[in-house]
């Protein structure tokens, strides 16, 4: 599944300072849908190059990380259970840094 992932607020530093990633994520074995839970695990394995604890805590994102799926807060679409579709845009923003 082709997705666009964006990292902001300092999270890009964990992905070799690349803010925008166009990725192709395989569905987990036997599944017919891709959830945010699956995507996060994929991101941790494939995109996060250092200090994974700054991005994730357990199977979700670290407190202070805002997640928007197609400009919509993931709290409204089921958080980890949010299902993703082809060409979706997922934005991760760390709000730990002030401004």
């Amino acid at each position: 599944m082709h997705l666009t992932l964006e990292f902001g607020g300092g999270l890009e530093l964990l992905c070799e300072s690349v803010k925008i990633h166009n990725v192709n994520v395989d569905l987990p074995k036997g599944a017919d849908k891709l959830s945010m839970r699956d995507l996060l695990a994929w991101v941790r394995t494939n995109l996060i190059k250092e200090r994974p604890e700054m991005f994730m805590k357990g199977e979700s994102v670290r407190p202070g990380v805002l997640v928007l799926v197609n400009d919509c807060d993931w709290e409204l679409s089921g958080q980890l259970d949010t299902t993703l579709e082809e060409k979706d845009l997922v934005v991760f923003i760390s709000t730990l840094h002030g401004g």
């Binding site: 089921g78 002030g98 401004g99």
Partner: protein, 318 residues
């Protein structure tokens, strides 16, 4: 025109750049597989919500109402505390980050509306307040490449020049000009000063102090009557904890007021009621450009407290 919602309580709805008649039927809510279709924006009850404010269940807004709500909080803080009055010249401290980007945007919106009213009025009795922007270049204390900092400054110039009319003067001032002498000497003196502090937290706090002193200097030398900071609720929360931990209790209550009059040029905090995640969401939704010069996570007390406050917030929802 008034927002249609009967629960609208913002003191003057934020209309945005185009004066829209009605909230448009929402186009981009992503509700894949979720069951939130029966939920509507808590304010207008027309559109599907796309954002969660800090109130969780009770603050699901559509984009327009979310923006209105945030601008409403800003406007209320400004009005109730008389932060900006017609004869004022306000200096907005712009770090490039999301909070200061939002405060800059909102101050501009306010000034723009005041200008339109002034132009439309035959009786020109109330002048429009002036706005200037200050960016402190701290590259001498960090290890950014000069290309990096030059690009950042260029981006900032572009952001400020696009926030016109009315046009705003931009001051790009290196942190070392806090010392009266300039150039190399200032850099050396700054380095000496920072090296004299051995702990990370001490260095960070010293820099914070130097920043505000420099802002005072810029404001006073250029006739500004107020300094506007983008300090948000989250930062205030962190400050309450970190100041307590550092034994700074005496000054704490004055540190977190809407208006800090201890300085020659009063410092105002119009975003004091806005949490960081809402400001970040607004920047993302509205495409407000942010210029980030980040040095990696803070390892001192301030960084620890910031993470702690986030954990507390996350656990509130459980």
């Amino acid at each position: 025109m008034a927002c249609n919602s009967s629960t609208c309580n913002s003191s003057g709805c934020y209309k945005g750049y185009e004066e829209e008649e009605q909230p448009k039927p929402n186009t981009k809510a992503a509700v894949n597989g979720g069951n939130s279709c029966q939920n509507l924006c808590v304010k207008c009850k027309v559109n599907e919500p796309v954002c969660c404010g800090i109130g969780g269940e009770n603050s699901r807004f559509c984009k327009d109402c979310f923006k209105n709500n945030l601008y409403g909080k800003f406007k209320q803080a400004v009005t109730y505390n008389a932060m900006i009055t017609p004869p004022d010249k306000v200096l907005v401290a712009f770090s490039g980050g999301p909070s200061s980007r939002v405060v800059l945007q909102f101050v501009h919106e306010m000034q723009y509306k005041a200008q339109k009213n002034y132009d439309a009025n035959k009786d020109k009795s109330l002048p429009v307040f002036g706005v200037g922007v200050a960016f402190i270049d701290e590259s001498s204390t960090h290890s950014f490449t000069s290309l990096h900092i030059e690009k950042a400054i260029e981006d900032i110039r572009l952001i400020v020049s696009n926030l016109a009319p009315p046009s705003k003067e931009l001051f790009v001032v290196p942190i070392e000009s806090i010392f009266s002498s300039d150039g190399i000497d200032g850099k050396e003196r700054l380095k000496e000063l920072l090296d004299a502090v051995s702990d990370v937290t001490g260095k960070e706090d010293l820099l914070i102090r130097l920043r505000i002193l420099l802002l005072q200097k810029i404001a006073s030398e250029n006739g500004y009557t107020r300094i506007v900071l983008g300090t948000c609720t989250s930062r205030i929360a962190c400050h309450v904890i970190s100041a307590t931990v550092k034994g700074q209790g005496y000054s704490l209550s004055a540190d977190i007021q809407y208006v800090d009059s201890r300085w020659e040029i009063p410092v105002v905090l119009p975003l004091r009621d806005c949490p960081a995640q809402e400001l970040n969401t607004l920047c993302s939704l509205d495409g407000l450009k942010i210029v980030e010069l980040l040095n990696g996570p803070c390892s001192g007390i301030n960084g620890l407290v910031s993470s702690f406050v986030k954990v507390l917030q996350a656990e509130c929802y459980v």
